[in-house]
Symmetry: C2
Subunit: 169 residues, 2 copies
């Protein structure tokens, strides 16, 4: 065996969340330069029944925070979804980065076989072992929301490219 | 250590490519039911300088095939990008699934430290160890293109949802 669950989660999340923070800066600069209402980007959707940009960023943060906490076996911190500006979304990303950066890699040891229960006691309860939770649920979900946030900005003409999505490894 | 590089790549790629195949079926059924030109979806873009749907699917397949082959230490098969229909894209996905399903997990052993060179001898040459290549490059790229393909269909009104993206673990 050659990867720890810590290595397969936290450093990759740090890369993508760092990228998302810089994308938020570029989006705000774009709105400022063109005198756009920030809400034109913050509330943009790709289709009426999809989540708006702000919610995509919040959910990306939630998956990063949730998967890191659950694999580390610590409580998932609660964050109210109150962000209304690019600055507040950047702060949400920074807070998420601070949380996942605070987790000790040693806490992830053994998490591959630990049972993880989502939405316990509800009709939507789901149970996974840590390995399946990370690889088959949480990571694909995280990248989905980061990519959709990126796609929303590209669709609205913000000048970002694949390197902005990838960030610095 | 608790994950092999095989576990962190092939089964997750199989899940997402399986999902992508079913999404392609739903997109074609949508086009047929509404008497749409298939090209209205196949050539759709989220912005003029982004790749069209067909290319997003081809690139997703290329990342799945490329990362699996490189981590297994076998030659990356070449596929011409000639697909012009949903049926041909489904065949591309099926061919990719057959290839990655044919790889022996034992070949991935030791790949975390194996040097992987992309575009060797070109100005865009990049070198990674296998672990960084998988977690910090190939997986985020793969999910980017699968998600963008999904987003393009959603943006054009195809009735798919998050469960279609996630597929069956």
């Amino acid at each position: 065996m050659s990867l720890s669950l810590y290595e397969a989660s936290v450093p990759a999340l740090q890369q993508s969340l760092g990228a998302l923070g810089r994308i938020l800066e570029k989006a705000e600069a774009h709105a400022t330069a063109r005198k756009l209402e920030p809400a034109a980007l913050l509330q943009a959707r790709l289709y009426p029944d999809m989540f708006a940009f702000t919610r995509q960023v919040q959910i990306a943060c939630d998956f990063a925070k949730g998967m890191s906490a659950r694999l580390a076996g610590v409580e998932v911190p609660s964050d109210p979804d109150t962000e209304q500006s690019f600055a507040e979304l950047r702060a949400r990303v920074a807070k998420t980065l601070a949380f996942i950066g605070s987790l000790d890699a040693a806490k992830f040891v053994g998490s591959e076989a630990r049972e993880i229960v989502l939405r316990p006691g509800t009709p939507k309860e789901r149970r996974f072992h840590g390995k399946a939770y990370l690889l088959h649920y949480a990571l694909p979900q995280f990248y989905f929301h980061v990519t959709t946030a990126y796609a929303l900005l590209r669709h609205n003409g913000v000048e970002i490219g694949k390197l902005d999505y990838m960030g610095a490894a």
